[in-house]
Symmetry: C2
Subunit: 595 residues, 2 copies
């Protein structure tokens, strides 16, 4: 192998396009491919900004040429070269007009083993391999682009919040376990036998304490941990953009975050997003979109037909309404040809996973004829009333679900997304941002047989609901808000309770005894006794936000070293066994079932 | 309590000085103190930028005045006010020339309990209280200043490395345990019974893998964990500025970091630091300062007298040299009057904690008379030779230690710092930056009876030592460097081994079997088989760097929520017990000694 000696890179690939022909540059990187045509060699050099063509020909120094003959994919090289015009241009890459005539070539390293797969975006690789050899997967231009974009998003985020007087303050990672919601990861203490730290699910308590401490505006990009079973877009460790601000109410938090997202879309994607964003209450979102995170890139809004079909001739509809349920529908406009009987059958199977019993439909063909699963049971007027309510015209399909109101709305919410995906109603490159507000303060947990906090126990009720926390929890709404981008929750937050008495009522409504509230949150309750400014905040899932901005399908592609389904990481093989001695020092032993 | 209503802060305290008299501003914060003179009330309002005087007088709206009479320390208020000239100026604060005539006062919150201590920097508080009520301690202007400065330092750091093409890339926190050095914190896996994650002591392995993956320049400000017994400047969790760069040798890493520190000192302290910094090899640092992190803010360099006293009349000196030991000394210039016999006795006790047997001294008084503990055993020529070698003159004191070379140097190194501290030789506001280079590659561990890596096992040897790794480890020096500021190691790093064969030799020299090397570092060794660019990096202790820049004595003062001696955090009371159910889910049980 050669040494770099005094040679140093002068330019990254992307920067060479600004250099005039005839100038000397030194570039460094990996050989992505090389074509040896005998007396002509073309080698593509890849660095983390792009690809460049190196050319070796009859004018090349013979020693350099001999070295060039040895180049293979993924050889690590440095090349001092003269920039020149390229004879056969490549319009697909930014550097496609130029090539480098190499005067000094250093081979610095080279693979000693066959690569398990090619370093090309076009060549699909099994997950198993790509995760085990993550360092090779990460060499691919698409992965490099994702992580470079993530860097830029993070930089843009910090710059914005700094400009808005937010202070980056670090909160501890080894904290007290206060499980309310997801499972904590815990860490045994060596120094205090039998005691454990928890890893934070979020810095929630600490950021509130920073407001009590007068820090006014806090931000942190921070790792959080949740020991849950993995879903596609969840990781055991994930990163949060975490914010809190004092002397703020809902509109203040929303305004500062609209400023942030406007800048982010502008700086990262060159898109101009209009502010203020749309806002929708949780009740409206559920009624119209069957979801607390509606995707507004397409229509298919839900219409409540309960009043229309009350007492109609179709028993399923009539009895549902009579028993307090709802009959709701969407109009799949213009999809009559695509929504064949077979497709509708598939959708019936789909909505069954959302507890719906089935779908009643009317397809109105382009020629005005129609087929329907229920109109035969209705009078002509009744059928017409439904069509009119649904504003259904030739080419449309009415899809109706009947049952418990929330279940029906949720099923239709899922159905509209499924139809949009299946039939290509979602435009690439379109972004719809929405605030969902006024969430219920509580939801009833059948499992625990008590009210639980929909967000967390520190969320403030709306001013008008302040007096009903204990007496009528189910009717209280929260000063809570989620930012929804293209049907995904990118972040959420709330105004917090800053009055210790209100906090006490909240714990009471949640069924905490004084003792259990104190043992978990005593220090937070104490802190609030010394006077806190009104405050609230918000947290974004950074991984998800990056994924949304880059329009990717999985957060794995925006995380350098993601975990997989079993919460392990295949490259390093973690988690792993540890020495018995380590366990002894920590005063724990294994407790494995003999199965 | 009042509500904010539509009122919002328009200015922070520090920004009001730019506002013309007569203009209306709204400010918000805590009452730091209030003086009620009957028909005149002066109230100091504190926000995280400073303090402002609010004035209430005979012209104040009576309702506002009545509210002002209720204000107490730490009441949370918002005040709409007209800015005006202040009659009795306060030269101690930036806003001392102005006061605010309040037209609308909102009392938003107030302590419901007596404060355990006053929120004033001047009033000392017991550690116990200040840590338990950390949220109150954090309200103090000094703590606010420290955390605001930390924010600025972090911002400056990220901006610099971004401008130098470093990408911020996040590495995992739940990793594989590879203990070599300090103890890992470990985290039991629920999904994989009997398996554990470790929390990273540093992202070392991942940042090297990012270089293998072609990311070229990486940076991260990242939490790290070490389960060690706490010392004054150590925390179980601490924050690192972590860097790695490709196509780089020692001078490249040093140059990019000198650029960083120059900018940091300029932007944060307004100080112009000259580059390049001084450099010193580890051997020279040990010989001249008895430390691998010399404090260059004062002299007291070490002189080796072994040659001078060889065979002299004083048995202790002569036999030490004869037995292969060293006789070394410092000249405490001009300290003859201060270094009384009593003071020297204290220093003798001090050096004994560093294994030195004692101190031999000569004090040369201003009048030319002298007293010495050893000169009576020397001939006149021998005594003169020592004085000449030490360049000792009237007013100086020679302090000599004899013994094993390294122990002697280390004791003298500690002694010079102790003398500098005790006798005020260290100038406030002075910064001396130094690179210590060429550390030994290995050090011999008597405890483990083998060579261990002085930095870590991935550190590259100097080019000239490449062939001696296995055959003569003790004579190999490393491409390693520490940045030392005022006698404290602010950061350190090295060029890494990028050749798998050299890495293999390194593991061999460290006495790892192939199997144990593979089980710990197999994935890293595999990664290097696919060709890595030459690379190296550096990591700063951020907490320590902030402490150094702000000239504070303890890192606790630059961490919002520090841990204490028993690795606990008194405010929240962590670590704590967890539910038996949590342990069962994690397949572990407690293993407590019955003592």
């Amino acid at each position: 192998m050669d040494k770099m000696g005094e040679l140093r890179r002068t330019h990254y690939a992307e920067d060479t396009v600004k250099v005039p022909f005839g100038e000397t540059v030194t570039v460094a990187g990996f050989v992505s491919r090389t074509r040896d045509l005998g007396n002509l060699i073309f080698t593509d050099l890849r660095d983390n900004t792009g690809v460049l063509q190196l050319a070796f020909d009859q004018d090349t120094d013979p020693e350099v040429f001999r070295k060039a003959e040895q180049l293979k994919s993924e050889t690590v090289i440095m090349a001092k070269s003269v920039l020149r015009d390229r004879s056969s241009k490549n319009k697909d890459i930014p550097t496609g007009d130029i090539e480098l005539f190499v005067t000094d070539l250093r081979i610095l390293n080279a693979p000693t083993e066959m690569l398990p797969f090619e370093i090309r975006d076009e060549v699909p690789v099994r997950d198993e391999l790509s995760l085990k050899y993550r360092y090779l997967e990460l060499r691919k231009p698409s992965m490099t682009r994702n992580l470079v974009m993530r860097h830029k998003i993070v930089k843009c985020t910090r710059d914005y919040f700094d400009s808005q007087h937010f202070l980056e303050i670090e909160t501890p990672m080894l904290i007290k376990s206060t499980p309310e919601g997801a499972r904590d990861y815990i860490v045994p203490s060596r120094v205090q036998p039998g005691h454990f730290y928890a890893l934070p699910q979020s810095p929630q308590i600490y950021k509130q304490i920073l407001m009590v401490a007068g820090y006014d505006r806090y931000m942190q990009i921070v790792r959080c941990f949740r020991d849950e079973d993995l879903r596609a877009d969840r990781q055991p460790e994930f990163t949060q953009i975490d914010l809190e601000m004092s002397f703020a109410d809902v509109d203040d938090v929303i305004a500062v975050n609209e400023g942030f997202l406007k800048k982010l879309f502008h700086d990262i994607l060159g898109k101009d997003i209009q502010t203020p964003f749309r806002r929708m209450t949780w009740n409206d979102a559920m009624a119209k979109y069957g979801s607390d995170k509606p995707d507004l890139r397409f229509g298919l809004e839900i219409t409540d037909l309960s009043e229309t079909v009350k007492g109609c001739g179709f028993g399923v509809f009539a009895s549902t309404v009579e028993n307090g349920g709802s009959v709701c529908a969407i109009n799949a406009e213009g999809l009559a040809e695509k929504l064949t009987r077979k497709e509708i059958d598939k959708l019936v199977e789909f909505v069954k996973t959302y507890k719906a019993k089935g779908i009643a439909f009317t397809r109105i063909n382009a020629d005005g004829t129609s087929s329907s699963s229920y109109e035969k049971f209705l009078s002509e007027d009744e059928a017409k009333a439904v069509r009119e309510k649904m504003e259904a015209e030739a080419g449309d399909v009415i899809l109706i679900i009947a049952g418990d109101r929330m279940e029906t709305l949720t099923a239709l919410g899922a159905l509209r997304c499924q139809i949009a995906r299946n039939f290509g109603l979602i435009e690439k490159g379109r972004f719809e941002l929405l605030w969902v507000t006024d969430f219920p303060l509580f939801e009833y947990s059948e499992e625990e047989d008590r009210w639980v906090a929909m967000h967390h126990p520190f969320t403030a009720p709306r001013d008008e609901d302040m007096d009903k926390i204990v007496s009528d929890p189910g009717s209280c709404y929260a000063k809570a808000y989620d930012i929804v981008i293209n049907g995904t929750e990118a972040g959420g937050g709330s105004i917090r309770i800053s009055n210790p008495n209100v906090q006490q009522q909240m714990f009471e409504a949640l069924g905490f005894t004084d003792e259990s509230a104190r043992s978990r949150f005593g220090f937070l309750m104490d802190a609030y006794k010394y006077g806190a400014p009104p405050h609230g905040g918000l947290a974004y899932g950074l991984d998800r936000l990056v994924m949304l901005l880059l329009e990717l399908d999985t957060i794995r592609d925006v995380i350098a070293f993601p975990k997989v389904q079993n919460a392990g990481e295949p490259m390093s093989g973690c988690p792993d066994f540890v020495d018995q001695k380590q366990l002894e020092e920590l005063h724990i032993k294994l407790d494995l079932d003999e199965e």
